[in-house]
Point group: D3
Chain length 163, copies 6
């Protein structure tokens, strides 16, 4: 079973939310090792630099064993192969995610038939929380501390105070 | 990790399709043991008896190691607990599945916070194949051998010849 | 091109609505002949007999040339082949139709690669009108004359007066 | 503004859930009087009699002012007119509700242009809770006390103990 | 009930369409005062300046009593609180709106539990009309006078003649 | 029937995929002439110039009779009228397409009641393939030769080698 026990969780984490953290935590109960793979480039509407995003994840997963943080820059199927992994974890939050995820799962299993994507439903408590929505409301001065790890709430406040 | 390596795949399997079989096969690569849990009661539009459904599954998974067939009669959370398992596998075929699955995942994790549902996307090749659609077209005399294991195609032909 | 100019429009027409009629009319502009194929059996919640449904369609399409009414009892792919047709017309009203239609289109083109389903969007004016919703509200005494041909409105009134 | 301050909330309430109760409570803040209109007939999969359903609602809304419980037997537009009301409240839980609600809103405003349906989103806390799902899991012996008023949890336990 | 009778209708109105106007009109029948809150900033694909958008709304609602036009620049929950209002009105046009609206409703009621969003379905007649689609087709020279107030049609023609 | 036998298939074809090609092929069986109408301007995320896109289509449809390639620059309804056509072909791939297509179909039939849009479901084999997804994964070095005509695969490789 060896390398089936390594799972890669790729996202842009801009920033990491309580929803992401919940998924990472649950994944550590399913797999022996979970690689949090931070996308190097983010959308134009991106807020935090790669370094900042990694810092915030590091703080958030400090208490979790068997979690590794890494940077992904290129094709997911290639990255997973290099890591010696076969399993990718994705969260499903809303219907709008579903079709994109379906297309990507089909594409990826075409490019590597040995590649498997495993989906977890985002917890009811966090399903309406997305990084993009948080960036949007935080830019208007909203307090997002209920939806993100402590460090992230502080960083977001600083970010928008400065800007 | 122990019991995290046992996954339960509950469905009515009326009858088992190539889509189900594909999911079982892929699950054996993710978990050490996969329990195919056949629902005792099926919908009013059901076709095969519990015994027939189990027979067809047995034939279909004969070449797969580490697969167990069992009957589930009651609440899924209770069954999973009794089995000493924590993980349930479900296939996502179409958007229409999504909301039902989301509701059930939320319900189940409320009833047992330690309960985890893992979703796999049905393969592109079989995503438009469902047991109910097959029962429908087979009842009009369609040949469904392309979509189901050999034994099932034969049984369906018999069923509708007799009826 | 010959037989490509014959299109089959299968539905249960229980009863025919203005939405159906609109689709038939538009189809006659796309194809040389349109076969309105009435499903022999309808759902348990059915209202009108096969004869009644055909009568109402006859009345509604009386002014349309090149429309034929027929009964379909069996597999659609078989029926279409017997008719020497290759094209099936379906209306898309709502998202909920979409996935069922997608599955059926895939199934049918698997069973007969030469089979083509052509979809038309239901007109904005009638997109919220379905036979089942009309049966539901008419059973509570609603006047549905705005949504169906004249004859149908009258028949529905009689039906529910009697019952 | 007078009769615009009366809102009718029609549903089958089989049984009333915490989601329903949340909606009734929020509606009393929007309208001067809220009529909880219990559908006389329920689906074949119904569980409680009209009397039982009304009893459970009565218990649940005992602390709420300006809430009236009534029975609706017929067309909603007619009922609303008789009540001298113009506003109907509906909860939106999931996408699957959306299209049905859209069709009904269109139908109703066609039948009475002065009729207005107002939608509230079900609270995040209860959005995955529906009466039908609760009946389903309670029938397998699940404890649903987290999702329904106290009295309802007790009645459901009795119902399934007896059956 | 006092401040429950003030409802805020926030949107970018770039430009106001017949769909918006229909919603404003219906809202004045539900609430004593309706504040049309024009978002200060619009998307990059925006067409009209804040002043132009306000002018066109003013013209369109001239015949409606109890409608106020205001500018919103910041977080909606903050704006609503400052206005002494509790109710926000939103139109639901298509399924694609639904999940965004659900997320925002959850977010907003988390940030202010006393905040209520009320949804109205866009009328059948206008449900396929959106400001962004109109900007798109008008930019290709389409006449949009059927879908917008007279003044808006004229302004759009000027805008695209000049550009 | 004359001009009903000319169908316009408008898209940006950036680049043409096997899914597009499948639709063009099937359309030639339904209509006497199929005009592949290439949109002059593409989204900001566009990859190929108009000339490159036309070249690739030319190569791909070389074996198909009765297919014409043209450029569309303006309103679709205007273009179709100038061509003396009445029928537009569109592919439906995923639910996400559906609402956009519905809106456009309604808009277009409002602007020209004689305008008809005909939808075909993308083949099961290609339904998860879109130009935008291919551009995305090819930019990361993925081999897309399985999803596009030979010439296109080569051009995409060159494009991303150069960039």
């Amino acid at each position: 079973m060896s390398d089936r026990s390594v799972a890669v969780y790729p996202a842009s984490f801009d920033p990491i939310t309580n929803g992401h953290l919940d998924l990472i935590t649950r994944s550590t109960r399913l797999f022996e090792r979970v690689v949090v793979a931070v996308g190097k480039n983010v959308a134009k509407s991106g807020l935090f630099s790669l370094e900042e995003r990694i810092d915030m994840i590091s703080g958030a997963v400090a208490d979790l064993d068997r979690v590794e943080i890494d940077v992904i820059d290129g094709l997911l199927v290639d990255y997973v192969r290099e890591k010696g992994a076969h399993v990718v974890i994705r969260g499903l939050r809303v219907l709008a995610d579903f079709e994109y995820e379906f297309e990507m799962a089909m594409m990826n299993s075409h490019m590597n038939p040995d590649f498997e994507t495993v989906y977890l439903m985002t917890s009811a408590r966090w399903f309406f929380v997305s990084s993009s929505r948080l960036r949007e409301i935080a830019s208007f001065g909203a307090d997002v501390s209920e939806f993100v790890p402590k460090l992230v709430a502080q960083k977001m406040k600083e970010k928008f105070a400065r800007s």
